[in-house]
Symmetry: C2
C-alpha cells in the first residue's frame, strides 16, 4: 500500500492531474460537480499532498528552523513552545535542533536547515560561537535570521532579547523598596554578556541608594555551586538573596531549606526567572519575569515582519515585570 497521489486519483476518475490539483484547491475553473467527485475520492483514499513535491515546485517550504543550546531548559522551553504554536497557527512547520553549546554541532544543524530549505531561522548561539558568518550568509539567499536570547554583538542582524539590565534593576528596586539592609546577590557564568549586564545594573542600582545597603556578590555556574555559596554567605546573616537565574535559585532554596529558615521571616528571596520554578515553592518566590513565551511571540512576529518584506534590521527587547510572591 503506497501513498495516494494526484495521479492515482486522476486515473481512477478519468480526469487529468491538473484538474485534480485544481479541484482540491477549489480553483474557480473547475465545476462544482467535478470538485465534489474529486474531494470525495480524495478523502476516502486518505490523500495527503506531498510536501516535498510542493516545496520543490513552489520553492516555499513553510518550514522554520530553530536552533537552541538545549531544549531541556525551562526558559528555552517556553520559547520553543510559543514559537511552535505560532508556527502551526500560521501554517508553518518547525524543525527544532539543539546544539548542546557546541559550535560545530551548530554548524551541522545549520546545514540541515539549509538542506531543508527553511523559510526562516530562529537561533540562540552558544557562548563559544565566535564566527557568525555562516548565519549571516543566509541573508544573502533571502532567509531571515532572528537571533534570540544569546545574540551576537554584530549590529547587522535581527535580535530579540529579554531586557537584561532592566530586569536586574527592577529586582534591585524591589529590594530597596522593601528596605532590606544586607543582600547576597548570586550570579552565573561571568563569560556571558547576560551575566555582566545583570551584574552591572544590579550593583549600580543598589549602590545608588543613599543609606547604604550592604551588598555581597558571588558567582556560581551550577545549582550545586549556588547551594554552597548560599550556605557560605548565610553565616554572614543577610536578610535577602538575589538570584540571577533559575539555576541559582534552586541551589539557594536548597540551602535555605537545609538551614530550616522561614521565608520571608528569616530570609527574603528574589530572582530573575521564567516563572516556573518560583511557583514550586511555598511561599511562592517573588521574581522578575523574563518570559520565554513572550519572547517567542516577539521573535515570531519579527520573523513575519521580515517575511513580509521588512528589511529593517532591529533589536527588540521584551519588558520585564515584577511578579510578587510572598518571599520578599
Amino acid at each position: 500500500m503506497t501513498n495516494t497521489t494526484l495521479k492515482k486519483i486522476s486515473e481512477i476518475l478519468g480526469l487529468s492531474i491538473s484538474t485534480i490539483s485544481r479541484a482540491l484547491k477549489d480553483h474557480p475553473d473547475i465545476s462544482d460537480k467535478t470538485k465534489q467527485r474529486v474531494v470525495e475520492l480524495a478523502t476516502t483514499l486518505d490523500y495527503e499532498p506531498n510536501a516535498n513535491a510542493i516545496n520543490l515546485r513552489t520553492s516555499n517550504s513553510k518550514l522554520f528552523g530553530l536552533i537552541v543550546p538545549s531544549i531541556s531548559n525551562s526558559f528555552y522551553n517556553s520559547f520553543i513552545s510559543s514559537v511552535e504554536e505560532e508556527s502551526r497557527r500560521n501554517g508553518y512547520s518547525l524543525m527544532i535542533l539543539q546544539s548542546g553549546d557546541d559550535p560545530s554541532i551548530e554548524i551541522t544543524n545549520l546545514k540541515l536547515c539549509r538542506q531543508n530549505r527553511i523559510t526562516g531561522l530562529f537561533v540562540c548561539i552558544s557562548p563559544d560561537t565566535v564566527n557568525i558568518d555562516a548565519f549571516l550568509r543566509l541573508k544573502e539567499i533571502e532567509i531571515p535570521v532572528i537571533f534570540f536570547d544569546k545574540v551576537p554583538e554584530s549590529n547587522d542582524c535581527n535580535k530579540v532579547c529579554v531586557a537584561d539590565s532592566l530586569s536586574a534593576t527592577i529586582a534591585a528596586n524591589a529590594i530597596i523598596n522593601k528596605k532590606k539592609k544586607k543582600v547576597v546577590a548570586l550570579f552565573g557564568n561571568t563569560h556571558l554578556l547576560i551575566t555582566r549586564k545583570r551584574l552591572e545594573a544590579f550593583t549600580t542600582t543598589i549602590n545608588e541608594k543613599v543609606n547604604k545597603i550592604k551588598l555581597i556578590t558571588d558567582y556560581a555556574v551550577s545549582s550545586a555551586q549556588a547551594e554552597e555559596a548560599a550556605l557560605k554567605h548565610l553565616k554572614e546573616k543577610p536578610d535577602t538573596f538575589f538570584c540571577m537565574s533559575d539555576e541559582i535559585l534552586t541551589g539557594t532554596m536548597k540551602a535555605i531549606q537545609k538551614k530550616g529558615l522561614k521565608i520571608p521571616d528569616d530570609i527574603s528571596v528574589i530572582a530573575i526567572s521564567n516563572g516556573d520554578i518560583p511557583k514550586l515553592y511555598f511561599p511562592e518566590i517573588t521574581y522578575v519575569e523574563t518570559s520565554g513565551l513572550k519572547l517567542g511571540k516577539l521573535a515570531f512576529s519579527s520573523m513575519m515582519a521580515c517575511l513580509g518584506g521588512s528589511t529593517f534590521i532591529q533589536e527588540l527587547t521584551i519588558e520585564s515585570l515584577l511578579v510578587e510572591g510572598e518571599s520578599l
Copy 2:
C-alpha cells in the same frame, strides 16, 4: 542571489548534472580529477543539496515526527532531547509537534507529518484521544509508529513505556519497608492507562501486606488540584504521601510547605518521577525513577528495529529503580 544547484555547477564546469551528482557522492565512476574540481566549486559556491528534491526522488525523507502533549514538561523534555540527539547522530531530522492534549490538534499534527512524508513517528497520545485509527493507518503505508509513555490499549501497535506497574510496586514496597501505617496516594487522570496501572499495582502491593496499612487514594489532574487534595487529606494525619507524577508531587509539596511540616519527621513523601523535581527540595525526595532519557533511547532503537524490517509488534518497558533521597 539564489541557491546553488547541481545544474548551476554543471554549467560552470561544462559537465553534465549526473556527473556532478556522482562526483559529490564519491561515486567510483568519476575520476579523481573531476571529483576534485567539482567538490572545490561546490564548496566555494556553498552548495547544499535540496532535501525536498532528494526526498521526492528517493522517497526517503530521513525525517521523524514526534507528537507530544507539551514540550515544557521535564519528562517529555528529556525524552525529546534524547530522541533528537539520536536522530541527528543517525542522519535523521526531527519534526516536533505539540498537541496541547487536544485530539483535534493531534490530528492536524498527524496530517503535517504525513504531508512531510515522515519516515517514522513517535507519539504520546493525549488523555482524550479515543480513536487511534488515524495513527494505525500509518502502518498501512509502512510508516512505523512508536507510541511512548501514554499509549493506547490496543495490542496492535509498538509501545515503549516506563514500567508503570513495576514502578508503583517499587514505591509501595519502599513504603512497606519503612513500616508506614497510613498512606495517602495521589494519582492523575484516570482515563489514562498509566494511571490505572499504577493505581492497581500500588494498591495491590500495599494491601498484600499482612498487618494492614491504611490506604487513602485520591485523584488530581493538575498541580493545583493535587495541592488541594493533599491539604484535605492532611487533616486525616497520614504519615506518608505517594505521588504518581511530578505534577502531583509539586502540588503536594506546596501543601506540605504551606502547613510547615517537616520532611520526613512530620510526613514522608515518595514519588514516581523523572528526577529533576525531587532534587529541587531539601531533603531531596525519594523517588522511583522513570527516565525520559532512557525511554527516548529505547524508543529510538525500537524505531530503528522497525525500519530494519522487524514487523514484530512489541511492548517494551524500561526498568525503574528507587532513588533514595531522605524523604521517606
